[in-house]
């Protein structure tokens, strides 16, 4: 039966079709995703995701704000990696308008973005384990995340929805306390990652729940336009930071973790290993942190973007963010399309869920790691 027929009010339910609404008010649909499932027992025959519960018209807002005024909004799309979306917006506008960024600011941006990536992955790790029924790792992850927030709070002024990057720099310089605190945190997190490894990665129940569940092949990932850890879990070593480097990423040595199986365990492991790589990037950035200004002498308030269209890509915690900017030379963007990773990543779900169990639904949805406000925008 097609999805339209599922929603058709005149369609009569036969005796043994079992429809189940999972979400929008459900403990593990990660926000307000609604999955309309057709079941046979606990086996899923068909899944129809219903989106848009947190649609706020971000692209419409962008058309009605100046480039500067839109600055706080991207952080509200993917609120778990707000710094990165904030950075991405600045990057897109800087590239289009040709604004130079001091080197120290680039380093600070990268450090903060990688910290944000770790905190996003930590939250995902905890939430994923909670989806699988283990509550305790969730709180360990939040404990680690708390450290990241404590580090970022004095610098960015916020704990979650950061608005830190400015056109041509960052809002505030980092100080010695931040650097020493960060080095201590790196050491602590490395110890914690070992504990997670023992508590989760080797756990036989966890492995049984995730291995060979929700397998995405590389071809399937390509067909659905998957990016980020979902793609790297399927054996494709694609990372925007490597493929089309931006900011100062070319200066750092880091690996792109890749797993070839494409199942939930592989996606999990990719994210888990990425945290270690982010730590490596941060360490290198701290070692080489140059002196100098962090913002242009004269703050950029009015941005002149020559008429034309521009495209900018960015690797967020969930995959490739694409900002397609059309300018008519005016104060506001003429059109600003945000290609968000979760949107494409989630689109594979209906295909993936067929013939799995209800418990797998949660495991697969969690492993894809979607943020609903990012999808709904």
């Amino acid at each position: 039966m097609t999805p339209q027929a599922m929603l058709d009010p005149t369609h009569t339910l036969s005796e043994d079709t079992f429809y189940l609404n999972m979400g929008p008010q459900h403990p593990s649909t990660h926000g307000v995703l609604r999955l309309l499932l057709r079941l046979s027992g606990e086996r899923i025959l068909e899944c129809d995701p219903v989106l848009g519960y947190s649609h706020r018209g971000q692209e419409h807002i962008a058309q009605n704000k100046t480039y500067l005024q839109f600055l706080p909004y991207p952080g509200r799309m993917d609120y778990l990696s707000a710094l990165m979306f904030n950075h991405a917006h600045c990057l897109a506008v800087e590239k289009a308008a040709g604004i130079a960024v001091p080197e120290r600011a680039e380093y600070i941006r990268v450090i903060c973005a990688e910290l944000n990536r770790i905190s996003s992955h930590l939250l995902w790790l905890g939430a994923y384990l909670m989806d699988l029924g283990a509550f305790t790792p969730f709180l360990y992850c939040f404990d680690d995340r708390e450290d990241i927030m404590d580090l970022l709070l004095p610098v960015t002024g916020s704990r979650l929805t950061y608005c830190y990057s400015r056109f041509g720099g960052v809002a505030k310089d980092i100080d010695e306390t931040f650097v020493t605190g960060l080095r201590a945190f790196i050491k602590k997190l490395r110890g914690r990652l070992k504990d997670y490894d023992k508590l989760v990665n080797k756990n036989v129940i966890f492995i049984n729940r995730t291995r060979d569940v929700g397998v995405i092949s590389a071809d399937m990932a390509r067909a659905y336009g998957l990016t980020g850890p979902c793609l790297r879990g399927s054996g494709v070593a694609y990372d925007v930071r490597r493929a089309e480097p931006y900011s100062v990423y070319p200066e750092f040595a880091f690996e792109i973790p890749v797993r070839s199986g494409g199942d939930c365990l592989d996606r999990y492991m990719v994210r888990f290993l990425e945290m270690e790589q982010s730590l490596r990037i941060i360490e290198q950035a701290l070692d080489r942190l140059p002196q100098g200004p962090v913002a242009p002498a004269k703050p950029v308030r009015v941005v002149k973007v020559p008429a034309g269209d521009y495209h900018c890509v960015y690797e967020s915690a969930r995959g490739q963010v694409g900002i397609y900017l059309v300018s008519d030379g005016g104060k506001n963007p003429y059109r600003m399309k945000w290609r968000v990773p979760s949107f494409s990543n989630l689109s594979v779900l209906p295909k993936l869920l067929v013939n799995t169990l209800v418990a797998d639904t949660i495991a697969i949805l969690g492993s894809v790691d979607v943020v609903m406000p990012e999808i709904d925008r």
Binding site: L13, P24, R43
Partner: protein, 121 residues
């Protein structure tokens, strides 16, 4: 002997009855204390915030019943073993042999179901 048994079962009966009352009384009391009828939407079945499409009283997948069937066959057999075990040791090797035979036949049931793929979903 019979007397003690009767006495014992009178305990069981009493505990069962009191347990029943003990659960019932707070429920009855709660009816008088608790607020009622605040909003009709509460009376709709919960289904993640969406009005449910169709009820839950439907034909259900068979695999659960398969488990129930194996269980029935198995559990009843297992229960027969209790008296056997109580009398175990009164014979030389005969009781061990019989127990082994019985368990062996029981195991065949699992082996059969295993081979038939009852445990695979």
């Amino acid at each position: 002997m019979l007397e003690t048994t009767l006495q014992n079962y009178s305990y069981v009966l009493a505990f069962l009855g009191v347990g029943f009352l003990f659960a019932l009384i707070p429920l009855v009391l709660a009816v008088f204390i608790t607020p009622r009828g605040l909003g009709l939407n509460k009376l709709v079945s919960y289904e993640s915030g969406i009005v449910p499409e169709g009820g839950a009283w439907i034909q259900f997948e068979v695999s659960y019943y398969l488990y129930a069937l194996i269980f029935l066959a198995f559990d009843v057999d297992v229960l027969y073993m209790f008296p056997t075990l109580l009398a175990y040791g009164t014979f030389a090797w005969r009781d061990f042999l019989e127990l082994t035979l019985f368990v062996g036949i029981l195991s065949l049931a699992i082996a059969y179901a295993w081979k038939k793929g009852v445990f695979e979903w």
